[in-house]
Amino acid sequence: MPKNLFVNPEEVRASGKVSFNEIPVNQYNKSIKDELKSGKFTKEDLIRIFRDMTVLREFETMLNNIKTQGGYNGIEHTYPGPAHLSIGQEAACVGQAYLLDENDFAFGSHRSHSEILAKALSTINKMSDEQLMDVMENFLEGKCLRSTKKLGETKDVKELAIRFILYGTLSEIFARETGFHLGMGGSMHAFFLPFGIYPNNAIVGGSGTISTGAALYKKINDKKGIVVCNVGDAAMARGPVWEALNFSAMDQYKTLWELHNDGMPILYNIFNNSYGMGDQTRGETMGQGCMSRISSGVSPTQFYAETVDGFNPLAVIDAMERKLELLRNGQGPVMLETLTYRFSGHSVSDQNAYRTKEEMDAWKEVDPLTTYPAELVKAGVLTEADVEAILAETKERMTLICKAAADPEISPYCDFNKDPAVVERLMYSNEQVVAFDDREPEFTVPKEEAEGYKKIKSKSRSPIGPDGKPVSKMKLYNLRDALSEVIWDRFYEDPTLIAYGEDCRDWGGAFAVYRGMMDALPHSRLFNSPLAEGAIVGTAVGYALSGGRALVELMYADFIGCAGDEIFNQMAKWQAMSAGILKMPVVLRVSVGSKYGAQHSQDWTALCAHIPGLKVCFPATPWEAKGLMESALKGTDPVVFFESQRIYDIGEQFHEGGVPAERYEIEFGDVNKVRDGKDVTIITIGAALYRAVDAAKQLSEKYGMEADIINIHSLVPLDYTKIVESVRKTGRVVLVSDACARGSFLNDVAKNITELCFDDLDAPPVVVGARNWITPPFEFDEYFFPQAGWILDAIHEKLVPLPGHVVENGCTEAEAYRRAKQGV
């Protein structure tokens, strides 16, 4: 809602027509002779295109044989994992990769082996021997290269590099330690950054948002090259892919951005093989007829889309040339629909129940692996014997590679017995990076002169002023200021740091954490995103794994569901799936609401804590908020940063002297002990802390009992030392948060306390959570969210009788049975 873009009713309401440009379909009509004559290709180029296609075909044929026959060319081997083969799609992949180099990032679909290998072969061809040796010798400290060299001498570095990429990819697929990611990624997560090969994805369309984030990284950080987003036709039906298209086509890059205001350097390439798994996208599950039509609904440029014959590598190269030129001129995003066909099944278990032999035979008639070399022979580029020689050489190489990748001596598995922590070590990178780039951060006003920053700095950091009187709300440094202060500081340190989300800029974020920053930062560092949570998180993932730092916001925690895949599968898992090659410095801010009912009030910490790979925190005091944000924004791991709308305005009540003006970090895992007592331990998460403090006060005043209160501000990781210390002392523990009790993270804490302190406990730990209902309207808050009285009731009913206490909101055993049986 920028004020300088006037929404003019006269313009908005004016009558007119929307027009569309025609979309070219299979317009390429040149022959090999034409191309040779034009000088665009040498004979060697044309032969290499064929050679690359044979490498791709043989790789997939080999995997197919191993999956279906338990061996390949005399090598016996079984491989239990996935194999989504792309036999038939080789010309499309080789054509796409032909003009790309190591600076161009190609993200894959989940039928990606050919995409990866084509990009690698093209890059190898373009890189010098020195560059190639440098890449191979430095990748995983030369581990893959050492294994590759065991296959024997090669005639040149390029052949070594070809073996290297084939071997690294195959041993990754075979889950070997010698794979590109120690075998932890496998078939659907293989990639190789030094050649500009970025992750493919087991989630259909998963690359849509991630590659868009990578393009954003290139655009904002002035990095060389473009990004190719490869998705299949069926992926175009997925919401996040649409969100990504829209994100890449936002008007603001042109209308508002002061810097980096070129179009997004991204090509969305749809490898259309007509099928999802067994569903036909054309004629059955989708309605566009032609996939390139899709971009017409996203941008007036229609992404300069065209449809090209992916069975002719030269047609694809021809189209790619046009698209790359547009991108290099800053006219992205662009789109290509590359028509192809897969002869192999979706996976090797595919019975082809959904298509006829007649159809498959018709496509085999025009198989590029026979038609293209036939053309070359016809044009006199190759002889039949040359063709056979190339095929033989490819097969021989593949046999060598397969034998080595299957051989446990050359290609051992990670030894989980010797090293049980092999995966554990990959889960987090746990690094600290002040700046991901050495250029100067971009801003329009220096930090110290920025009004917003100065205002925070002028506030009282303690609720009690130097005169001993309470500080007014306006002058009190609150939890919002704590978050804001750190974000200000980090913006001026890390030039790659960008923040976006719904209404982050002009509004300052729905809860005003970014208020004032728009006056000091260009749009390229702080901007409003579309209301598309999948794109917000997915692009942040792509931005971060490309080398930048992203701080994104989903407004309400309830919207986590809209970005489920991006948070749970992408943000959480890429560090470990890449064996630590990728870093994921994404801080995802989500706010737990109140007053706004069932879809705007949920504490979903448990969902996030359940997913391995995420760090999860939920500060409840300004001191915690500042220290944790500092940690999160310096770290290299993905953090889901929970906040509560109940306490943005709250001042620091616990930390002596208030919130320090100096910068400091709170280590993830630590807990915050805010009250000392000997009789009962109250463990809290989130805003429930303040109700626990109230309960502790009542306990002390009415019953003469003193409570230890420990706030868990970092759920994952979590150090139990101080918790156990407290429980050993008190023998009683009640755990409180605003999350619905069933499946709440507190149950996990309670279970661990039970195991760690069983002999010290007077009674089992009691979890006091919100009821397992929808959140009713705010008027009924006290019936849904834990109150101080509930904490006393729980202590009285389940831990220790409080003399004279009458239970108001307890839960008897009979009630526990009933609620569980009813599911409420």
């Binding site: 009731d793 009788p801 003399p803 239970v807 008897t812 009979a814 009630e815 009933r818 609620r819």
Partner: protein, 455 residues
């Protein structure tokens, strides 16, 4: 408005003991009873039947003591006088309960109570036009006779031809021919009473045996003894219809009719929870029974259900203990209800008493058990006082855990002896330790000691 610490709805054994214990612990209690304190037990159950059974026992002793060298002639049984005496006993006991309530400053409200649900100060109950509020609420509303959907039964109840445990105790005249529908404990005691004093009694029972879950061998002894007294058992028979002066039932697929001048309906009891306003509380129910946990808490914090209304074990002494567990929960004293060590008694002659598990029940639970069975004649006193007695004891011992888990008795004094075994089961002492207990000699109870040495 005065806010009570506790409201108790129902003045039976559960209700009045709960009120008493709560008051003794400093609570300000209101107890609601629509009829008379003491409930079914005191007014229509345990106590009145015991007075009747004792009279009949004396009558029989007088008539049947030739074997002991005693002959009596012109022995008469005055049923009306027996009933009068019973009324006096009941009255004495009821007023005793009233006095106890008064002494403990329990506010007894003799009026129909209707629960009004949650209130500002906890819960509200309306009685006699007033609303009472209390921080806690105990429901002790008891149980009532089940009336099965048998044609003619309702009409019979209305006309007085069919009676329940309530009316039968007030019948001034002995019926000549009595049909008892249901051969459970309640039915058997009354059937036995009438048979003892000259009524022709037929018991119609749907199951193939009498006395419910009682040990099969004990049932055999009982059945033999009852048949000797002229009682007729129609087992595995189903009552089809109650007519004006007869009962029609089905036996082996054949329709049969027994003429009679009174029908006693004793086909079971159900929790009495309708029309008292419990729906205002949102209680979790199992049909008519209020669900409770081991502390007698219902699903609503502060609301308890004790005695027959929770449908667990409909016995007065269960209600007593439940009352105490509930009060202890209110006081924050750790306590929990055990339903597996509650003794049960049939006050016929011979008496039957048991506690804990039978061998079959224990094996069903997967326990490794040993059963010891000894004739009562091992006890000198039993032999001295009984002619041709068929009494016996059965002990069930968990051989893994070395614990007594059940005791089953049939014979004289069984009702009084069973508490000895109950303590043994409850305290979970080993047989080796139990062998060290000294019993007075001669007593019938010594049979337990004897049996322990046979383990």
């Amino acid at each position: 408005m005065e806010v009570f610490d506790l409201l108790v709805v129902g003045g039976g054994p559960g209700g009045y003991l709960c009120a008493e214990r709560a008051a003794q612990n400093g609570m300000n209690v209101a107890l609601f009873e629509k009829k008379a304190l003491g409930g079914t037990c005191l007014n229509e159950g345990c106590i009145p039947t015991k007075t009747l059974l004792n009279s009949s026992k004396m009558y029989r002793h007088a008539k049947e003591s030739e074997a002991f060298g005693v002959t009596a002639s012109d022995v008469k049984y005055d049923h009306a006088k027996v009933i009068d005496r019973k009324d006096k006993v009941v009255k004495t006991l009821v007023s005793g309960v009233g006095a106890t309530m008064k002494a403990n400053k329990v506010n007894v409200i003799t009026a129909n109570a209707v629960i009004k649900g949650r209130a500002q100060n906890g819960f509200a109950v309306e009685a006699d036009g007033n609303v009472y509020e209390g921080k806690r609420l105990v429901i002790a509303s008891g149980s009532e006779t089940v009336v099965p959907p048998v044609p003619g039964l309702k009409e019979g109840l209305a006309s007085g031809f069919v009676v329940t445990n309530r009316e039968v105790l007030d019948a001034k005249e002995l019926p000549k021919k009595l049909v008892v529908i249901g051969g459970g404990v309640i039915g058997l005691e009354m059937a036995y009473y009438f048979a003892s004093v000259g009524t022709e009694v037929t018991v119609i029972e749907m199951m193939p045996k009498i006395a419910g879950a009682t040990d099969a061998e004990i049932c055999k002894v009982l059945t033999d003894a009852f048949q000797k007294r002229g009682m007729v058992f129609k087992l595995s028979c189903k009552v089809l219809e109650v007519k004006e002066k007869s009962v029609i039932y089905e036996e082996n697929g054949e329709k049969k009719e027994i003429p009679c001048d009174m029908v006693l309906l004793s086909a079971g009891r159900k929790p009495s929870t309708a029309n008292i306003g419990i729906e205002t509380l949102g209680l979790d129910m199992d049909r008519a029974a209020i669900k409770t946990d081991r502390h007698l808490c219902t699903n609503v914090s502060g609301v308890y259900a004790i005695g027959d209304c929770n449908g667990k074990l409909m016995l007065a002494h269960t209600a007593y203990r439940e009352a105490e567990v509930a009060v202890n929960h209110m006081l924050g004293k750790y306590d929990e209800m055990r339903y597996d060590v509650i003794p049960s008694v049939i006050y016929t002659d011979p008496e039957v008493a048991s506690v804990g598990l039978s061998k079959e029940a224990a094996e069903e639970k997967g326990m490794k058990v040993k059963e010891v069975k000894l004739p009562m004649s091992y006890a000198g006193r039993y032999l001295a006082e009984t002619e041709g007695g068929k009494g016996f004891i059965k002990l069930v011992v968990d051989t893994d855990k070395k614990r007594l888990v059940g005791c089953h008795l049939v014979g004289s004094y069984a009702s009084e002896i069973i508490m000895t075994a109950t303590m043994m089961v409850d305290t979970e002492l080993t047989p080796a330790r139990l062998q060290k207990l000294v019993f007075p000699h001669p007593t019938v109870a010594e049979i337990i000691r004897e049996a322990i040495f046979h383990i």
